[in-house]
Point group: C2
Chain length 170, copies 2
């Protein structure tokens, strides 16, 4: 290991909670929790010919209605070919509407149809229910800490996207 246990503190503060073992537990907690986090939507989507990629597209189109394909691309961090495959399916099935831009006609602005919004609700209801249960169980201070750590883990560019969505919704 780069640091032996207990040797991480170049600063003078109390950093006893930063042992490799503590960090390892955090890593494992992320692994198991993320599985749980995606399990409910995955269950809903399996059978309809959609997957996690469709869920993500639907989520972020719902968040920022009228977003362009390019913007969605940079939020999701995938290639346009990957996104296009997913988007094409959603448009063909009438869950997403793609409108040619008024100012810039090269751009396509994406919106959920009523049917798309309905699926979005089903998916996010399930995901929020799990989140809500966890939040209730641990209380507001733990939730604040949870959010702080997640935000601190993001790369600056992701953090920009993350905060950007916040601003849109007010």
């Amino acid at each position: 290991m780069a640091d032996g246990p207990g040797t991480q503190g170049h600063s003078g503060e109390s950093l006893l909670y930063l042992t490799d073992e503590q960090l390892r537990q955090g890593i494992e907690a992320m692994f198991f929790a993320y599985r749980a986090f995606t399990a409910d939507p995955d269950r809903i989507l399996q059978g309809m010919h959609y997957g996690r990629a469709h869920h993500r597209a639907i989520h972020f189109i719902n968040c920022a209605p009228g977003t362009t394909v390019n913007n969605l691309l940079s939020i999701l961090g995938v290639t346009k070919q990957s996104l296009n495959r997913v988007l094409r399916a959603l448009i063909e099935d009438g869950l997403v509407e793609s409108r040619v831009g008024r100012a810039d006609k090269r751009e396509r602005h994406l919106f959920l149809t009523e049917e798309g919004a309905e699926l979005e609700r089903r998916l996010s209801d399930a995901q929020r229910a799990r989140m809500r249960a966890a939040y209730r169980q641990v209380g507001p201070e733990a939730v604040a800490g949870f959010r702080k750590v997640l935000e601190a883990m993001m790369d600056p560019e992701m953090h920009r996207h993350y905060s950007g969505l916040r601003e849109i919704r007010g």
Copy 2:
């Protein structure tokens, strides 16, 4: 939505922080943070012909040396065919050793070789570095909250595996 904003409190407590908007922010934070969380190991593994699945196998074999294939299977939550493909590659490349069980000769006990342990260190150093930086930034109380929320989100069976690893390591 199942609940309109502010209508989630069936209990009498102060649950103002449980608006759909707060929950949505938590969901997005999980999405972006998990991407960041896996980014460093992914970068290390790309080019060598391994991926995230190999990383997971290596991680948990390192955690619980001598674990059986069946045990690893239930921790990872994949099929034996999926795991086998990954394990076969790691064994062929000399990163993992598979020993026939002494008590029960049907079982194979898995260990990292020196080379395997070396890659494990490279991967977990990178992942721990990110985690450590985030932990330092937010302080011990936020970290405690982070862990509490993640644990509360897990399904009981995952939580069992998660705690189980804790017990092995003491």
